[in-house]
């Protein structure tokens, strides 16, 4: 048999030896939506990291001769109510939005995964108490809890990230707990226990690596939710404080000038839309690629 004519049976036997991450990546690559999402996510990250190099203007420099100018060669996306360049603010605003997405989901993972492992692995009263707390937190609608937390912590980007992160935590506790309970009865965990591994080692070395795929999917979708939530909090004035740029607060001031300067509202909204869309597409694609039950 030549290499050029690979029969299905050969491909199948190769797939069996392929490591699971390589297989997931191969599946992900086939999904146009997911790849589009991945490319846009990488682009946004590059824009955020390279903001000082690619931004055409200082994002907070005002100019009273350039107030609310429509898009032009000098200002591609126009200027805002105090003459700041909209493109520059969107580029710098990517930092606030993406870091809010990543940091708050990082917080949610950092608290949620250990607690979920503990609840699922230990069971008993620890599980009962943690599960009730999760129920209580999930009983308050996401954004309303985030607003309440941000309000009591005080308005700032850092506090918004903490508020969103804490609000997103119960979902990760519940997911990790459920996956841990399912993994706990698997043969490989039984085997690890039989050879005398301590509990913490079983939880961290045997259970945790096996529940990473669903956590990864959830994290990707949670970043999308966190970016919208940060934009919402900033729109309400509870996130990034002026004059520092953020997409949400740009929309807030744009709303007042919608009749005179509609470009102020279009672009920040598109930026939020594309960032959220890409993380959603990536999350959907990851779910399909990582779930062994899918074809």
């Amino acid at each position: 048999m030549t290499a050029a004519a690979v029969s299905p049976s050969v491909a199948a036997s190769e797939a069996r030896e392929e490591n699971p991450w390589a297989r997931a990546w191969r599946r992900l690559k086939r999904r146009k939506g997911a790849m589009f999402g991945l490319v846009v996510v990488v682009l946004f990250i590059l824009v955020a990291v390279l903001a000082p190099l690619i931004s055409p203007y200082d994002p907070i420099a005002t100019s009273f001769t350039q107030v609310r100018k429509p898009p032009s060669w000098a200002h591609w996306l126009g200027t805002d109510e105090v003459g700041r360049d909209v493109l520059a603010r969107i580029i710098w605003g990517a930092r606030a939005s993406l870091s809010a997405g990543l940091v708050s989901v990082g917080i949610a993972l950092g608290i949620g995964v250990p607690l979920g492992l503990l609840a699922g692995y230990a069971g008993g009263w620890i599980d009962a108490v943690l599960s009730r707390i999760v129920d209580a937190m999930l009983a308050i609608p996401f954004l309303i809890l985030a607003i309440a937390l941000a309000a009591f912590l005080g308005p700032s980007l850092t506090n918004a990230m903490i508020a969103i992160g804490v609000t997103a935590t119960p979902v990760f506790i519940r997911l990790t707990r459920g996956q841990t309970i399912a993994a706990k009865v698997e043969d490989y965990v039984e085997a690890a226990r039989a050879v005398g591994n301590p509990h913490w080692r079983i939880a961290l070395r045997h259970v945790l690596p096996n529940i990473v795929p669903p956590l990864l999917v959830q994290a990707s979708l949670a970043i999308a939710g966190a970016i919208i939530a940060e934009a919402a909090l900033s729109f309400l004035g509870l996130g990034q404080q002026p004059p520092a740029p953020s997409w949400g607060s740009m929309l807030n001031s744009a709303q007042r000038f919608i009749a005179q300067a509609p470009w102020m509202a279009f672009w920040p909204g598109f930026a939020i839309f594309f960032a959220v869309l890409s993380f959603n597409l990536l999350g959907d694609g990851l779910r399909d690629a990582l779930d062994p039950r899918h074809k």
Binding site: R132, A136, M137, P141, A148, A224, Q255, A265, I272, L277
Partner: protein
């Protein structure tokens, strides 16, 4: 059914107690002296002492919680520092506005989401299906405050068809009321339509592959009847329960939507009280929201059992 109901009712009690502790606990996050923050501009030590007295801030936290909870259980959610009225009466005044908005949004969501889900399932892998899926992705990824601003730009500023903001009660003038709420209802319903479409699509796909649908087809029924009578009825059960969970999205969305369209409802009350540092109102409103959400979930569970005869016992 009765045992199921009483079990579920007993289950929500610890949840409600924990929710109330959580909401009460928010107060502890306030940086510095809560009395000073609650007083706002007021710096008179006598006033501060009155506030400490009124909210029992000198007592230990569990005692404070006990008194707060005692008030809540007798319908006293506290006093608005700024508006000088009780939180309960504020809630009673604003809630109907948000409920009207929510009901209209639900009509929008059902009216778009369910037909779109049916069509995309029946015409799987056609342009219709792709179109419906793109609509769902758009709905899930569009921040509703941006959609609201765009709609104001199109329908109010450019076309001049609808007022950009404000609210008229349906009792006063139902036409004007409809004109002020149709855009916010669409904005609010849009994201839920997307979720409903996805649920309907997957439930319909599952139902269309079931034996009873094959039987219905084998009997020679028209495809239309097979889809709408046999498949849809069975597919609706999960959609009802999953749809009820979207009530939280509705309430969260109302906060932003009411802010954009200046509608004096529940959501605007939360935001206004956040900015007026009227913390008692924030706590009261969040508590009412959470309680409503928990009760609605309970009702959804009951509805699920009612429409699914196999679960009745």
């Amino acid at each position: 059914m009765l045992t199921f109901l009483s079990q579920r009712l007993l289950q929500i009690i610890p949840t409600l107690i924990l929710v109330s502790m959580l909401i009460f606990g928010l107060q502890q996050l306030l940086p510095g002296d809560p009395a000073l923050i609650m007083a706002g501009e007021e710096r008179d030590p006598k006033v501060l002492e009155e506030i400490r007295e009124q909210y029992r801030l000198n007592e230990p936290i569990p005692v404070q919680y006990f008194y707060w909870m005692k008030g809540v259980l007798s319908g006293n959610l506290g006093e608005s520092m700024r508006l000088k009225s009780s939180v309960s009466s504020l809630v009673a005044e604003k809630l109907p506005v948000t409920l009207q908005l929510a009901a209209m949004a639900l009509i929008v969501a059902l009216g778009i989401g369910i037909p779109a889900g049916i069509i995309s399932a029946v015409k799987k892998d056609t342009a219709w299906d792709y179109g419906a899926n793109i609509f769902a992705l758009w709905g899930l990824s569009t921040p509703n405050f941006w959609l609201g601003i765009l709609m104001i730009f199109l329908f109010s500023v450019t076309l001049g068809w609808l007022p950009a903001s404000g609210y008229v009660r349906p009792g006063e003038d139902w036409r004007a009321s409809l004109a002020t709420t149709v855009m916010p209802a669409f904005v609010l319903g849009n994201a839920i339509a997307a979720v409903l479409m996805r649920h309907t699509r997957s439930a319909m796909l599952q139902a269309m592959g079931a034996d009873y649908v094959r039987t219905a087809r084998a009997k020679g029924l028209y495809e239309r009847r097979v889809v709408l009578k046999h498949a849809l009825r069975n597919a609706m059960t999960p959609v009802i329960t999953l749809g009820a969970l979207e009530f939280g999205t509705l309430l969260s969305g109302a906060v932003l939507t009411e802010q954009i369209f200046t509608i004096p409802g529940f959501g605007k009350l939360i935001v206004d009280s956040v900015f007026n540092r009227d913390y008692a109102v924030v706590q009261g409103v969040v508590l009412v929201t959470a309680t409503t959400y928990i009760v609605l979930n309970l009702l959804a569970d009951v509805a699920y059992v009612l429409v699914n005869p196999r679960l009745r016992g």
